[in-house]
């Protein structure tokens, strides 16, 4: 099966309006909404990642659809209430205008790409190569230049490599872990690991968790969204047990 690729939810919506042969301001939200969802489920079936933007837009469509089903009271001054579609229509119209404009830019681009200037050559008063027009230098260039300096500096001044830095004691992590769980506070393991400063530290935390679980000092619980939460059990830690943990 061949699924057309769209560059974002608005492009998909625009295409749906076109397929349904209606004007944008007469968009039939119920129809478009269903087709939009159908497209997303096709994407799902084909195991394609659905960007958050599509999901957001889909939710918006449902919202508009349901608002359209409700009777709309008149406003205080007797005017009909705003059409729930108005915002969407405005966005689509604006998007289509700019999309049309980008088509004309594309045409100009394809023609102008054929225009060549002279290749740079030493000028009579060559200052320095690769100078930028001061008027045109922006924050982006400034930042790029700064990053360039730092990268080059690091490259030319490599830090001496310390193996000793990488050592993390499992016992230390073990003690920290139990301390963090004091008073029955739950502890989100994955987010803690994510904040580890180095591979060595993460490994040490992980070993400490295994050790504590083995000693029945903690319980591990996996939540619905995959998070791993640790709880302290009521069992007391014996001094000789702590001694046994690898330092």
């Amino acid at each position: 099966m061949h699924l057309p690729v769209f560059d974002g939810p608005l492009e998909l919506l625009l295409q749906l309006v076109k397929v349904n042969k209606v004007e944008i301001h007469q968009i039939e939200v119920a129809v478009v909404c269903d087709q939009f969802h159908e497209y997303l489920s096709l994407m799902e079936e084909m195991n394609l990642d659905i960007a958050a933007e599509y999901i957001y837009e889909a939710a918006l469509l449902i919202q508009i659809k349901s608002r359209l089903l409700l009777p709309r009271p008149r406003t205080e001054d007797g005017q009909p209430a705003e059409d729930p579609r108005e915002e969407l229509v405005k966005r689509l119209l604006e998007y289509r205008r700019l999309k049309d404009a980008s088509q004309s830019l594309a045409e100009i681009h394809s023609m102008r790409v054929g225009v060549w200037t002279r290749r740079p050559q030493p000028m009579p008063s060559a200052e320095e190569p690769e100078a930028l027009d001061l008027e045109e230098v922006s924050l982006f260039d400034l930042l790029k230049a700064f990053r360039e300096v730092l990268v080059r500096f690091d490259h030319e001044h490599p830090e001496p490599y310390h193996l000793s830095r990488e050592t993390f004691s499992v016992r230390e992590q073990f003690e920290r872990l139990l301390k963090a769980l004091e008073g029955g506070k739950p502890f989100d393991l994955l987010s803690h690991l994510r904040h580890g400063r180095s591979r060595g530290e993460i490994v040490a935390v992980f070993l400490a968790v295994l050790e504590a679980a083995r000693m029945h000092l903690i319980r591990l619980h996996q939540g619905d969204s995959g998070e791993v939460v640790l709880y302290r059990t009521t069992r007391e830690l014996q001094t000789h047990e702590l001694e046994a943990v690898q330092a």
Binding site: E53, R91, A101, A106, V115, T117
Partner: protein
């Protein structure tokens, strides 16, 4: 004092060496104030020399507020072949749309572009910044202080525009929004 023929030669040489557009005033600065009139006539003569004729490969174009010498676009294929250039800069549709949004709605922030296109623009913005078609021109003083983008002089040069006003006009906005009651009745039509 510069001879008239020499003036023409000087102007042509400057245009040949500079690869960027030079404003008329800037070009004429090379001569003394007193010669301004003669210089202007000389410039006209050079312009006439580069009038577009089929046997000329080089043209003098008016772009981004100045003049510059460029090759004629029709010769692109030959030049590509000769200089063995493959794949000259292509802009994706996403990049062109984002560029159009910035060109027509500048100054504009990243979140505003996101809103208009419905897509996170950061990757495309980086591409356009790297190609120097847009620039960051500061921050907007609102929550999050987002960067503000504008098109550059290179943008004008690339698209052969004298100024932003020369952008092709946008289609008229259909302000009228029809919300007749009978239309709402027909909304619940059958599915696909």
């Amino acid at each position: 004092m510069t001879e008239r023929a020499d003036m023409e030669a000087v102007l042509e040489a400057i245009l040949f060496v500079a690869s960027e557009p030079l404003a008329k005033e800037k070009l004429l600065q090379v001569f003394d104030e007193a010669e301004a009139e003669a210089a202007e006539t000389a410039l006209e003569a050079v312009l006439a020399r580069y009038e577009n004729t089929p046997d000329r490969g080089v043209a003098l174009e008016k772009v981004a507020g100045g003049f510059r010498l460029v090759t004629r676009p029709e010769l692109h294929g030959y030049l590509r072949r000769f200089f063995e250039i493959t794949g000259r800069s292509k802009l994706s549709m996403a990049a062109l749309e984002t560029l159009a949004i910035i060109a027509y709605r500048q100054p504009i922030t990243g979140p505003e572009i996101h809103e208009l296109r419905g897509v996170q623009p950061s990757g495309v913005l980086k591409t356009l910044l790297d190609k120097r078609l847009i620039k960051i021109s500061g921050r907007r003083q609102v929550v999050g202080k987002p960067f503000v983008y504008r098109t550059t002089r290179d943008f004008l040069m690339h698209f052969g525009l004298q100024a932003l006003e020369d952008l092709p006009p946008l289609e008229e906005f259909e302000e009228t929004f029809s919300s007749e009651p009978e239309l709402q009745m027909s909304l619940e039509t059958e599915d696909l």
